[in-house]
C-alpha cells in the first residue's frame, strides 16, 4: 500500500444523550493510500455512512452528540480543526458524492451555477473562467453538449447524468480524497456500470484516493482495491479485495459471500442473512454478530474479539478465526 492519505484511528460516533444514546460507529480504524479505492461494505445501518460522513463532518439532519478518535488527513488531525477551517477542507481536499443523485442537486439552481459556485469560491476564478472550466469538467464526466446543458436545471437531467454532474462538482477542485456514499445505489444497472468506470478512470487520471461505500459486494469486487466489512458499527474484516473474496476469514463475510447467487459475478444485492441486524441502542455483548453466527461459542457472547492479522494486509475480528477458517 502506498503512503496513506487518510488514517482513521478508533473512530467512535454517538448520537443522543445517556441513557438513550446510540453509538453508531464503535471503534473503527482504517487507512486509505493515495490513489487507492477503499471499500466499506455492510448492511444498511451498519455505520458505513456515518463513518464516511465523520470524515467530512457532515451529518445531514441529525448531529451526533460526540465524535471521538483520530482522523489524520494528509498529516493533519481533522478532529483538531475548527468548523471554519473544516469548510476550507471540504470541496478542495476532501469531496463527497451522495447516494441519491435525484435529490442531491439544488432543484432551483442551474447546473452550471452549481459547478461554478465551488470553482469561484475555492479557485478564485471569475465567472467566465469558471464557466469554461465547468464545461471541461462536464466533458470529463461524459456529459454531451456541456455548453448547452450548463444552463439547464437538474430536473431536466436523467439520474445518471445528475450523478455525473455531482461527480464533476466533487472533482472541480481536484480533491485528494473522494468519498462516494453508495453513489450507484439509486441508479439502474447499466448506468451504475458507467458511473463506476467513470470513477475509476478519474482516479487513474488524478491519483486521488476514494472511500467507496456500498452494500453491494459485486460493486466492491469490480471497484475496490481494498475493502473493510462493517457490521453493527464495527469493522469485522479488512483485506485486499481479491484476498477477501478468495479467503474470507470472518463468519459474517462468509455469510455475505454465500448470499451472493453466483460468486464473483456482480448481479445483485446482498441477500439477507438469517436474523436481523442488532439494535444499536442495545447491542449484543461480546461479538456483535454472535446472535446470528452459526459458529458462535460461549466466549463470543462475552468477549469483544480484537482485530487480529490473518495474513499480510488481512485482518479480522473473530475469536474463532483459526478454528473456523
Amino acid at each position: 500500500m502506498s503512503q496513506p492519505i487518510i488514517k482513521v484511528d478508533d473512530l467512535r460516533v454517538t448520537f443522543g444523550h445517556a441513557p438513550e444514546s446510540v453509538t453508531v460507529v464503535d471503534g473503527v480504524s482504517f487507512e486509505i493510500g493515495e490513489g487507492e479505492v477503499f471499500g466499506l461494505v455492510g448492511e444498511s445501518g451498519s455505520g458505513k455512512s456515518v463513518t464516511c460522513r465523520s470524515l467530512i463532518q457532515l451529518f445531514g439532519g441529525a448531529r451526533p452528540s460526540s465524535v471521538t478518535g483520530r482522523i489524520l488527513f494528509d498529516g493533519q488531525d481533522l478532529a483538531q480543526l475548527s468548523p471554519t477551517d473544516f469548510v476550507r477542507i471540504r470541496g478542495t481536499r476532501i469531496a463527497m458524492i451522495f447516494q441519491d443523485p435525484m435529490t442531491a442537486l439544488n432543484p432551483t439552481m442551474r447546473i452550471g451555477d452549481q459547478i461554478q459556485e465551488t470553482l469561484c469560491r475555492h479557485d478564485g476564478l471569475t465567472t467566465r473562467q469558471a464557466r469554461l472550466r465547468a464545461i471541461d469538467l462536464l466533458k470529463a464526466v461524459g456529459v454531451t453538449a456541456p455548453e448547452r446543458r450548463l444552463d439547464s436545471y437538474p430536473h431536466e437531467f436523467s439520474g445518471g447524468m445528475r450523478q455525473r454532474v455531482l461527480i464533476a462538482i466533487a472533482l472541480a477542485c481536484r480533491p485528494k480524497l473522494l468519498i462516494a456514499d453508495e453513489p450507484t445505489t439509486a441508479l439502474d444497472v447499466t448506468v451504475q456500470d458507467q458511473i463506476l468506470k467513470l470513477i475509476l478512470r478519474l482516479r487513474d487520471e488524478t491519483g486521488m484516493a476514494v472511500l467507496f461505500v456500498t452494500h453491494d459486494l459485486g460493486v466492491v469486487a469490480q471497484t475496490c482495491d481494498r475493502v473493510g466489512v462493517m457490521y453493527a458499527g464495527r469493522i469485522m474484516e479488512m483485506a485486499d479485495t481479491t484476498q477477501l473474496f478468495a479467503n474470507p476469514s470472518h463468519p459474517y463475510t462468509r455469510a455475505l459471500l454465500r448470499a451472493l447467487p453466483a460468486h464473483g459475478k456482480r448481479t445483485g444485492r446482498l441477500e439477507p442473512i438469517g436474523g436481523a441486524p442488532p439494535s444499536l441502542a442495545d447491542p449484543p455483548k461480546g461479538c456483535r454478530f454472535h446472535p446470528r453466527c452459526r459458529d458462535a461459542v460461549f466466549d463470543c457472547t462475552t468477549v469483544r474479539p480484537p482485530l487480529v492479522t490473518v495474513a499480510a494486509g488481512h485482518t479480522g475480528a473473530c475469536l474463532r478465526m483459526e478454528a473456523v477458517s
Binding site: V87, A95, P107, R121, H155
Partner: protein, 313 residues
C-alpha cells in the same frame, strides 16, 4: 414565453372557479329567507312598492334568467346600483379597492419580512431559546383579536406616544404608508403567526435535504449555504404558505379597516351590511373572492418564477 403560457393556462383553469364565485355571490342573497325586495323595503313596504322593486331588480324572472343577466351585467362591468349611495356600484367599489390592495400588499410585505428571517433562525437553531420565544410569541399573536390589538396600538402609538395617526388614510404615497403602518402590522402579525410555523418546518425539511449536504460538501460556508441554497428553496414554500393564507389576510382587512377608518372594501362591506345595501354586499363579496383568486394566481406565477420545475412540467 413559457411563463406567459403558464399564466394563461392557469387562468384557463381558474375559469370554472370564477364562474362558481359569481354563482355563490348571486345565490348568497337568493337563498336567504325572505325575498330581497321585501328585505330591502322592510315589512311595511306596500305590495306595489315591493312589486315595483321586484320588477326593477328582475326578481320576477326565473332564477336562471336572473343569473344570466347578472353574469352579463358583470361582463359589462356593472354590478348594479347601490341602495344607500343611489349610484352605480362598480365605480364605488373601484374607488375603495386601492386602500384595501395597499393594506394587503403592505401587510404581506411585513409578514414576509417577519416570517422569513424568524423562520430561518428558528429552523437553524431549532430547540434553542429563540425558537421557543418565537413560538410563544406567535401563539399569543395568533390568539389576539386584530380589532383589540388595534385599539391598544392606537392608544399606545397614536396617543401615549403619538408617532402614528389615529385613523384614516393619507393623500399621497408616504402619508398613506404612514397611516397603514399600524393596521398592516396587525394583519402581518396574524399572518406571520400562521406562516412562520409552516415555513419553519419546510426550512427544516430543506436543511435536511441532500442538496444542502452537497453544498456543504462543496465547501460552501454556512452563510452561503443558507442564503443561496436554503433561502431560495424555502422561498417556494413561503410563497405557497402565503398563498394559502391569502384569503385570511384579505378577510382580515374587513375588521381592521373598520378599526382604523380606512376607506377600503372592508369598511364599505361593514357599512353596507348595516345599511342593508344588499346589491353592494353582493358586489363586494364577489370582488373579495376575485381578489383572492387573483392573488393566488399571482402567487402561482411567482412560484413558477422561483421554481423552474413548475412552469416547465
Amino acid at each position: 414565453m413559457k411563463l406567459v403560457f403558464f399564466t394563461l393556462s392557469r387562468l384557463a383553469q381558474l375559469l370554472p372557479v370564477l364562474l362558481g364565485i359569481t354563482f355563490v355571490a348571486f345565490f348568497l342573497l337568493r337563498v336567504m329567507p325572505g325575498d330581497p325586495a321585501t328585505l330591502m323595503l322592510g315589512s311595511r313596504g306596500t305590495p306595489e312598492d315591493i312589486a315595483a322593486l321586484t320588477r326593477q331588480l328582475g326578481l320576477d324572472r326565473p332564477l336562471s334568467a336572473q343569473y344570466l343577466s347578472f353574469l352579463s351585467d358583470i361582463a359589462r362591468g356593472s354590478f348594479g346600483r347601490s341602495i344607500a349611495y343611489k349610484a352605480q356600484i362598480g365605480p364605488l367599489i373601484g374607488e375603495r379597492l386601492w386602500p384595501t390592495l395597499a393594506l394587503v400588499g403592505f401587510s404581506t410585505v411585513l409578514a414576509v419580512a417577519m416570517t422569513v428571517p424568524l423562520a430561518m433562525l428558528t429552523a437553524v437553531r431549532r430547540g434553542g431559546v429563540l425558537d421557543h420565544l418565537v413560538k410563544i410569541f406567535f401563539v399569543v399573536a395568533m390568539s389576539m383579536p386584530g380589532f383589540w390589538l388595534g385599539v391598544l396600538l392606537i392608544l399606545l402609538f397614536a396617543i401615549v406616544i403619538p408617532i402614528f395617526p389615529v385613523s384614516g388614510y393619507g393623500d399621497d404615497f408616504l402619508t398613506r404608508l404612514h397611516h397603514l403602518v399600524l393596521p398592516a402590522t396587525i394583519i402581518a402579525l396574524g399572518t406571520a403567526a400562521l406562516t412562520i410555523r409552516s415555513l419553519r418546518s419546510s426550512i427544516v425539511a430543506v436543511l435536511g435535504a441532500d442538496y444542502i449536504d452537497t453544498a456543504r460538501a462543496k465547501g460552501m460556508p454556512e452563510r452561503i449555504v443558507l442564503w443561496h441554497h436554503v433561502f431560495r428553496n424555502s422561498l417556494t414554500s413561503t410563497i405557497s404558505v402565503l398563498a394559502v393564507h391569502t384569503s385570511w389576510v384579505v378577510g382580515g382587512t374587513v375588521v381592521i379597516e373598520t378599526v382604523f377608518g380606512i376607506p377600503g372594501l372592508g369598511s364599505l362591506l361593514v357599512s353596507s351590511i348595516s345599511a342593508r345595501d344588499y346589491p353592494m354586499v353582493q358586489g363586494l363579496t364577489l370582488t373579495f373572492a376575485v381578489l383572492v383568486v387573483s392573488i393566488n394566481l399571482l402567487a402561482d406565477v411567482a412560484y413558477a418564477l422561483v421554481d423552474p420545475r413548475v412552469s416547465l412540467s
